[in-house]
């Protein structure tokens, strides 16, 4: 490069910098960079909805018998457990035990599906995360929403089965059921979000979560109704888990009003604050961790 050219260059660079500094002076609206949320809620919702719907479509169009496959898995699992728990181990005095079992399986499938897919979700979506700026939180939440669609499909089977078994429609279907599902979705979403953020840094979160999920399966009153637990302290201990509370309360609200409610077991009444507190803490921790992780995901992958 000749010296004249070098002079032109350095002058041009200095002028460019001066122009940029002058334009930046006094401005307070720099672009924020990658974030967990950072867009209007409506846009965020549209994003999550669109991703989830297309994922759901994929499942259904993936095979000719898409819908059947969707309900087949929980039904098959149900068949096995049903034979075991009605022929070998008996809970005779539990009203509509088969439906209770099926509902438990359906709920647990939702949790398992959401969380296991979410764990690796940010890493799986690497091409997207590294190339488009969009709210990172959409990735795990879309997975939870897809799982929720599946849950809805599966619940149709639960209701049909309940009617076949002689169950009657209840008023609690109209208010308690939706509220409990909302609570379930929130807790599951919080857990999924947390796991997805942790996995970016710690790859052994996945095997750890697999084990924890297995544990959750057995302590969440899915196979064994709460009455079958004879020790009242143990009953209370099981209901420390907000997830178990939801399972138990859904049984009461959807299947048999005679089944004990969560508040009946958690006596004195203040004890209900424990699972609620745990759920709230989970939500806060989850969002905090994800919010801190979100700007870094594109670099850490």
């Amino acid at each position: 490069m000749t010296s004249a050219a070098a002079e032109r260059t350095s002058q041009a660079i200095a002028e460019a910098a001066a122009r940029a500094h002058a334009a930046a002076a006094g401005r307070t609206d720099p672009i924020p960079g990658p974030r967990a949320l950072g867009v209007p809620l409506a846009r965020f919702a549209a994003l999550v909805w669109t991703i989830a719907v297309s994922e759901f479509k994929l499942k259904f169009y993936g095979s000719a018998l898409g819908y059947l496959w969707q309900i087949m898995r929980p039904l098959l699992l149900f068949g096995v457990l049903y034979v075991f728990f009605t022929q070998i181990l008996r809970f005779q005095d539990v009203e509509y035990y088969p439906v209770v079992l099926l509902q438990g399986i359906v709920i647990f499938s939702f949790v398992a599906e959401s969380t296991t897919a979410s764990v690796t979700s940010l890493v799986d979506q690497e091409p997207l995360v590294r190339k488009i700026q969009f709210p990172r939180l959409a990735v795990p939440l879309a997975i939870v929403l897809t799982a929720l669609f599946n849950l809805m499909v599966n619940y149709v089977v639960v209701f049909v089965f309940l009617i076949i078994q002689g169950g009657t429609p209840l008023w609690t279907w109209l208010y308690q059921f939706p509220l409990l599902i909302v609570a379930l979705v929130i807790i599951t979403a919080a857990m999924s979000t947390l796991l997805s953020a942790l996995y970016v840094r710690f790859r052994d979160v996945r095997p750890i979560w697999e084990v924890l999920l297995q544990t959750l399966y057995f302590i969440s009153l899915i196979l064994v109704p709460i009455e079958a637990v004879s020790n009242p302290t143990l009953q209370k201990l099981l209901l420390v888990s907000p997830f178990a509370c939801i399972v138990e309360q859904l049984r009461h609200a959807v299947i048999s009003p005679a089944a004990p409610t969560v508040t009946e077991i958690l006596q004195p009444g203040a004890l209900i604050l424990v699972p609620i507190g745990i759920a709230l803490a989970l939500c806060i921790v989850s969002f905090t961790v994800f919010d801190r992780m979100a700007p870094l995901v594109a670099e850490e992958l």
């Binding site: 260059t9 460019a16 910098a17 924020p32 846009r43 994929l58 052994d204």
Partner: protein
Amino acid sequence: MESGREAGAGRPAVVIDDVSKTFMVPTEQVHTLKERALHPFRRSSHERLEALQGISFAVEPGEFFGIVGRNGSGKSTLLKCLAGIYRLDQGQIFIDGRLSTFIELGVGFNPDLAALDNVTINGVMMGLTPREAANRFDSVIDFAELQDFTDMKLKNYSSGMQVRLAFSVAIQVDADILLIDEVLAVGDAAFQQKCFDVFYRMRDEGRTVLLVTHDMSAVTRFCSRAALLDHGHLVDFGAPEDVARSYLDLNFGTGEAAAEPGADEARSGDGKALIEEAWFEDARGDRVEVLEQGSPARLVARARFLERIEHPDWRVLFENADHHPLFATSTTWAGLETGVIEAGDSATVAIDFEVPFAPGRIYATPALSYRGSGDRFIDRRERFASAVVTGVHHSGGLVMVPHDVSVSSEGPKA
């Protein structure tokens, strides 16, 4: 955003103010809780990779702005910072208007979904409402010329069709500022022309476009100004011709661009000697167009000297049709003295080798440069000689390495 553009007559569309970005590249990745638990006090060692260092410049509204630089110069990092994908370590970026980034074609396309779903998802990710995204489907399909294939799953599209759809999706986003990374190199010639038409149209519509590219001819054709990055620093800024020249200075060896109309585009150098001929020969010394893989061959180049030059350096680069360099050599590397050549004299260079190249056309680029100057060419003629390599085995590799294959088997009976 029209009002914003007008109100900001003195306000740039994009301001990059003293932006730095450093990546911590771990030398050993601590990726599990177990490792953290076992070695809680071990400081994980990192290497600092300073991708951007104190970059400052502004892009005015309506500009077609080029960002150029060699691989690893930080230009893509800058684009990702602009797009809000990376967090800045230092500095600020201001953007006036709606931004659409176009970093890679077809990001987020799902091969199992049909075009409509993909177009919708992509639009929503880019910031449209689902309704807007669905509404522009027709114009996207029209531009991509895929009217007959809207119900087909993307995985059944040819790669060209996918590229067309992706490009079409990207440009149909109604943004004030577009960030475009290296997309000119896709599609067939007709589609490329269409892309160029779109770029012209965008420029005429007064949109602001930031184009990251290696292609200096695109920079000089489209851009009103350009910035050159090297090792994370801004090393040139201004008129595209100046920046393109600086880029070529950095990038010795690629003497294209900066070509005056009518001149031999692929020729560079000061012309004090002229490479007049170059050809391939077979083992018998006959000039040939076809070389057989594995057989001896020779490349010869001859130059006429217009001025006296001491010890010029001959170099030859061999490339395949895809512009992949196959190998290069020079008299300097070979430790040869080329001597003092008087004005009016001719000189030749010959390179003997056994053809290792994969079947296909190969090109030789002979060049003469001043001794020890690196990149000051006397004459360089890009792809001046060519030949077709024939061979039995199309391995898919660039070269065929002489090798042996052996097998053995073992078993309890053997």
